[in-house]
Every structure is written in structure tokens, then in C-alpha cells.
Symmetry: C3
Subunit: 336 residues, 3 copies
């Protein structure tokens, strides 16, 4: 592949041509001959001088920042992503059910779908065209996997849950386990928790990616609903009856309690959280390790983490947090 | 089913009768004809006027708050939970071992137990009456699964661990992996961590539910012990040698370090935590994203999270946390 | 086994001899006749008087602190760990591939390796001598498992990832899922996230242990690299392109964002975190639930958690965090 070929496929303006055939992508710092790299963050501009990559994708502002063969693109990072996709061997599901897989009677598989070894597809489940169910996956009764969606090995989809088209679900994901719902029924002389049957579903839109070991619980009565083009990182937990809007991104280790309504194009930072029954509006950005305890009603970033300090400094300072009210009162009195 | 039938089974006082047969449960907000709903939280009382559900469960205080056919119950939420259970199709384990499952010689299965496809039950394991081992589960040597306990697909129970009766263990749960125990053995010229063999077990009581992808480690020498009627949400981690008392509830993403002793009817909020070797007394409530660093000795709620604020406000304010000791000293001087 | 036998194998100085054969290890508090215990933490010295264990490992300082048969060792905790290992039945992988396992054509298994039921080993994968692939594991194309490494049941190793020698990987671990990388490509009239193909690998050194349900993502372009003798607890998430130095320990529920560089002998506390693209130097210690937001450049402990308090106190005090800047200004004015 040459720079001209890339331009022909993806647009942009090619300036110069790589001396050697292009065989893949690399970083500015570690890129080698034959690789295409990119500059999106001006912080790394100096690396343009030292990179050994053969070509680079740059933005309009950097059009003349390098003599390297280059493509000028409006969004160099997204352009680079598409270039990387060009170099990726397409992983098309080879149609067919492995001899060791178990497709229960009453499951409906499109002839172009693929089901790998030790996977199990229950009665009434529907696997769409070109969908790929990886090794050891378990697809519950009446669940649906949309066309071109790929489940990596060892994914569980509980009964009646649905995943849209072109999704990518990583290993260990559990879709549709019971939400955490119990009614307390204690009296002085005993009692116990009474389980609320979780009879809703999980409905996931198109073009979603869900990271390894993440979990999305089914709704208690109504459904848990994930929009389109939602990207969820690893080890994320989404409670029952949440809704997540289109294009929202949720970073790893985040926990969303039940009935939270997350808008469109929200960004939840790593290990962030939301207590339940609140709303996070479109365009909100929640910083890492920040707990959302009240609804967020305007876009922009909210933060609630404590900066780390040397432990000795922390010991000295943090003790005053328990006395802030006294301090504030002392100041008030000092002023009056 | 009619309201009278429900009352006959579950008690309470029925007032009026639904116009149509009852076919399920719903929410006040989205309930439809044929559904039973409930009012437990007075905040939603206004919805009594607009609900399209056919009947409602209410508390004594709301006996006259609606003309709808209703049942008056002492605990309407718990009553509703039981109504919902009535409508749930009973999922009784159909006895039998799937042809593809692997039951090793020396495993003891009750004739009424069920073992699904690709599940593996090791030598010496005991599966109780009506227990249900889901697809792809792995039951280690000498492990025990109590009667009527259901393991959803892809659960691992390590060797010699025990789960009581009527439990529900969701997909991806790992019971009895090694606790995190290593002795440092470093010298100036090298060294390494020395593993402490984790030879204890995990013992789980009756009526417990454990959420998807949660993990409970086996004890180092003594056992990790979970009481009866303990409810654990998704992605919870419980370290080696912890004990958890009866009726305790642990919300999602919580991490409990080793040798923590948690009492009865404790409630751990989402993403909360406890550093090890401390006690949390009966009836304690730990807020979301709160880290317990000292033993809790009286019931009631403790909190240690930082409220989120606009990022600009956070930048302006949080910098002073590192200077709290200086501020406190300045106030002291100002007052002297 | 007698105390003399232990000394012969592990060194140290034996004083006295146990009255009965030694059959295992125990704690000071709960140890029984026939068990060996240890004292490493002086806090527990009083238990030396009451223990019913038959022998004890002590440090030089405690040589004369007990009349019990004992071994005096420089590092009693590490010595004890080795004693416990002596008593552990060696779990050698019995060579062989279970009849139900699926080893794809082109996989290379050492004759001494073991592959259990329902495990799947893809084309080009290499399983080393005495390695043990547990039930239900899925080993991707071209992945490598080093000699004597044991994968407990239900581990996924994605294509081309590598695990060194003598490793122990617990159930539910996912090695090499895609890193979380998407380029935003939104315009006023729409758009979507564009996936950055994750083409790097995960490379894990020798003597590593990885806890249940932990996840380590493959690199975007370059690799994610874990050193030797790294110990990772349960439910840890390590993002793409991270590097982790030798002997580092990462406690449960910790999340490390992408491209973080963690040094040697670092200790990450439970539920700690690091935002990406920063460095944590050799010997740094990060407290539990502390978020690292800037590079750490000197060894020692950093902390950034908020202590828990009674909820009423928290309500009263925490409100002032949002006003710290005002308080600080009030003090300044008061002083001027």
C-alpha cells in the first residue's frame, strides 16, 4: 500500500509519497520504516523530527511541520484510526457451527453466522447474519445477537437480552444478570431479604463495544437500555434499569447504580461512579474516581477526587477535614 | 390470578377487585392493565392518580389514597416482591446431567440435581438435591453445592469450597481463588515474593445471592466465611479470611481486603471498601465510594466521599486541602 | 515431618523438637497440635503464650520469647511461607490433553503439558513444558504459555499474548482484550467513534500471579508489558500499553489507565488507580483508594483518600470543601 492508495480510500491531501511500501501503523516514537504514524497532539510535535516512520498523518496546522511524506486530514487521529483499520486483516466470521458447540432446538442461526467450540445457544435465541459467537459463550433463551456482532470467548448473555449490530463484546462480559433488588422484611424476631424478581431485559444498540469482564444487569421490571455507538471499557458495572445515551463512553472500573439515566456523548472517567436514580445530562464529563451523587444538568466536567500527597502531608492535612466546620466557624467569629 | 387469590396466598387486606385477570407486575409509572404495582415511597404518591395498572399494593397510610383495587400490607415493598415471585414461572431444575457435561469419577450428584452442557464436576464434589449447575461451570475437587442452589453459567468453585442451600450465583463468579498472600524476601542483591499457600476454604451460608463476576477468595489457613441471607452485588471482591454476617448486603464494585470482619445486617454502598484486619459492627452502613480505614463500632452511616463539583471549582478549592494544616494554624494565630 | 527435617530443608536454627509429627501449618491463635505457626508481627507476641501449635518460627529478637520448639530465622514470615509450601501436596500437571479439549491444528503442546476438559488451544499457540491449561480456558492464536505456568479454569488469553514461566493465572482472567481506544469523529450533523485497532500484545514475565477476574489489555500498537515476579490481585484492570516493573504488587480492584509506567517493587493499594500517561517510580507505595494523577518521582507512600466519618459529621464538614477557597481568602484578609 502507498500513500496514494490510502488517500484514494480515505480522502485527505497526500503530500509526497513513501519511499517504501507501507505495511502497517506505528507511533511517532517507535515507528519504523514502512509504517504510517500520526500527529494529533501538539505536545509530540518535536517527535516529527526524529521519527523513523515512513509517512505521517497530520492536521492542517502541521501541514508544513515536516518534510515527511504525509496526508493532511481534518481529524488526523480519526484518519489514523481508519488507516490502521485498512491494515488490519479483516476477521470475517467463517460461517458454521463447530461440532462441539451446542445449539439447542428452537434456536435460530443465520446461515452466515459462526458459533465456536463449547458455545451454547439456547432455545429461541436468534443469531444474526455474520455474527460470531466465540468459544465457551452461553446465549440464553430468546436472546438476540445482531448481525456482524462478535462475542469474544466466554461471554454470557442471559435470556431475552438483545445486542444490536456490529457490536464487539469482550471475554468475560455478563449481559443480563439479575439486578440487585431485595425488599427488606425484617421484624424484631427475624426476617430476611425478599428477592424482587428481575424480569426486565438488557437492550444494547448498534456499534457498541463492551470491555472484558464488564457486567450489565437486566431491569427489574422495565429494561436496561444502552444506546448506539456506546463504548464501555473493562470491569464496568451498570445496574438495573439504567439508560445510557448514544456515543457515551464509560472508562474502566466504573460503577453505575440502578436507574441512573446517562445522556448522549457523556464521558465517564475511570473508576467513576453514580449513585442511582439520578440523571447525567448530554455532554457531561465525569473525572476519574469521581462519585456523582446529584443529577448533572449542564455539560462540562465535574470532579470530586482528592489529590494524592505524600503520606506524611496527608496525615497532617486530612485531619482538618473532620474539623472544617469548626474552622469555618472560627473564621466567622474572627471576622465579626 | 385475581387480587383475592393473591390475598389468599400472601395475606394482607384486599379492597376491591381488579376488573381484568392479573398477569404480572409493573411500575406505577409504566404499569398497564392486568398488572399489579405498589407504592412504598411517598414521593411517588402522585403517580397513584395516573397509573394505568389494575391494582396496587399500599401501606396502611395509603389505604385510602387511591380508589384502585388494592391490597393493604404492612410492608408493601416486600409484599410486592412476593407478588412478583408468584407471577414468575418457577424455574425448577430438571434433573439430569447433560451428555456433554463432565462429571468426574467420585463426584456425588443427587439424582434430582441438574448439570448443564460443558460443565465440569470434579472428584469428591457434592451437588445437592435440586441444585443446578449451569453451562460451563467448573466445580473443584471436594466442593459442595447445597440443595436448590443455582449456579448460572460460567461459575468457578475452587476445590473444597462450600455453598449453602437456595443460593443463586451469577455468571463469572469465582469462589475460592487464592487469597493475595506473599511474604517479601528481598535482600540488597535480589530476592522475590514467597507465596503463602492458601489452604483455607470459602464457606457460604444459605440463601445467599452473589452477583456477576464477583470474587471471594479462600482463606490463607483458616476459612473465609459468608453467613446466611447475604446479598452480594456484581464485581465485588472479598479477600481471604474475611467473615460476613447474616443478612449483610454488599453493593457493586466494593472491595473488602483480607481478614475484615463484617457484622450482621451491614450495608456496604457501591464501590466502598475496607482495608483489612478491622471490624465493621452489626448494623453499620457504609456510603458509596467510602473507604473504611478504622473499625466501625456503632451502627449507623459513615461516609467518606468527596462531593463532585464543576471542575473549575474543584481546581480552585481542592488545592487548599494540601494546605489545611497551614490554614488551621493561621486561624489559631489569628485568634491568639 | 519433624522440626529437624524442616531445618534441614530450609535452614535456620532449630531449638527443641516438636513432641508429635508436624502435619501442617496454622495461625498462632487457632493453631493445633501438629501444626507449625510463626510470629513476625510483635503485636501478636502475647499469643505465643497461649498458642496450642506444636512449633513456631520466630525471628532473632524472639529467640527466647517462648519455650516452644522453634526455628529461628532471619525472615520468619518468608520462612513460614516456605514451610507451608513443604506441606502442600505438590500439584504437578499430569501430562495429557483431555478427550473433550480442543487443540486446533498447528498448536504446539509440550508432551509434558496438560490441557483440561473443554479447553481450547488455537492454531499457532505454544504451551510449554509442564504447563497446565485448566478447564474451559481459551488460548488464542499464536499465544504462548510458559513452562510450569498454570491457568486455572476459565481463563482467556487472546491471540499472540505471552505468559512467562511458573505463572499462576486465576479463573476469569482475561489477558489481551482490546485496549480502550477510539478516535472521536463527530461533526455538527452526526459522527461516531472510530475504533483504533489494538494490534499490540500483552507480554507477561516469569513468576507472576494474576488474581481472579483481572484484566490486562493488549497494546494499541506497542505491547503492554508486565515484568517478572509481579503479583496482581483480583479484579485489577491494566490498560493498554502500560508497563509494570519486576516485583511490583497490585492489590484488588485497582485500575491503571493506559500508558502508565509503573516501576519496580511498587505497591498499589486496594482500589487505587492511576490516570494514564504518567510514571510511578521504583519503590513507590500508593495507599488504598488513592488516585494517582501526577507522576510519582520519589519512593515512599502517597495517599489521597478521605477518611470516613459519621454521616452527620460528613454533612456538616464536607460542605466546606466547596468553600475552601473562600475560607482561605477570608483568613488572608483577616490577617492583612
Amino acid at each position: 500500500m502507498r500513500l496514494q492508495d490510502i488517500q484514494a480510500k480515505l480522502g485527505g491531501e497526500a503530500i509526497g509519497e513513501a519511499a517504501e511500501p507501507l505495511t502497517g501503523v506505528g507511533t511517532l516514537e517507535a515507528g519504523r520504516a514502512g509504517q504510517v504514524t500520526f500527529l494529533a497532539n501538539p505536545r509530540y510535535r518535536a517527535q516529527l523530527k526524529t521519527t523513523r516512520a515512513s509517512a505521517v498523518i497530520v492536521g492542517e496546522n502541521d501541514r508544513d511541520a515536516t518534510p515527511l511524506p504525509r496526508i493532511v486530514a481534518a481529524n488526523p487521529y480519526a484518519y489514523f484510526a481508519r488507516v490502521a483499520q485498512l491494515f488490519e486483516a479483516p476477521r470475517k466470521a467463517q460461517a458454521g457451527v463447530h461440532a462441539s458447540a451446542l445449539v439447542h432446538a428452537g434456536a435460530v442461526l443465520h446461515p452466515s453466522a459462526r458459533v465456536d467450540e463449547f458455545a451454547s445457544v439456547a432455545e429461541g435465541a436468534v443469531i444474526g447474519a455474520h455474527a460470531w459467537v466465540g468459544a465457551g459463550c452461553v446465549i440464553g433463551e430468546g436472546a438476540r445477537v445482531g448481525e456482524y456482532t462478535r462475542l469474544m470467548p466466554r461471554v454470557t448473555v442471559y435470556a431475552r437480552c438483545e445486542i444490536g449490530r456490529r457490536g464487539l463484546i469482550h471475554s468475560g462480559v455478563v449481559i443480563g444478570a439479575d439486578g440487585f433488588g431485595f425488599a427488606p422484611d425484617f421484624r424484631d424476631d427475624g426476617g430476611a431479604w425478599v428477592k424482587i424478581p428481575q424480569t426486565g431485559r438488557v437492550i444494547i444498540g448498534d456499534d457498541c463495544e463492551i470491555g472484558a469482564n464488564s457486567t450489565i444487569d437486566r431491569g427489574a421490571i422495565e429494561d436496561t437500555v444502552i444506546g448506539n455507538d456506546v463504548k464501555i471499557d473493562n470491569q464496568v458495572q451498570i445496574g438495573h434499569n439504567c439508560t445510557v445515551g448514544d456515543h457515551t463512553v464509560i472508562s474502566g472500573c466504573t460503577g453505575i447504580a440502578g436507574s441512573t439515566r446517562i445522556g448522549r456523548r457523556v464521558m465517564m472517567g475511570g473508576a467513576s461512579g453514580a449513585i442511582g436514580h439520578l440523571s447525567i445530562c448530554d455532554g457531561a464529563v465525569v473525572s476519574a474516581m469521581t462519585l456523582v451523587t446529584k443529577s448533572i444538568t449542564e455539560p462540562g466536567m465535574v470532579t470530586g477526587s482528592l489529590p494524592h500527597m505524600k503520606h506524611a502531608d496527608w496525615l497532617k492535612n486530612i485531619v482538618h477535614v473532620r474539623r472544617l466546620d469548626d474552622l469555618a466557624n472560627a473564621i466567622k467569629k474572627g471576622k465579626s
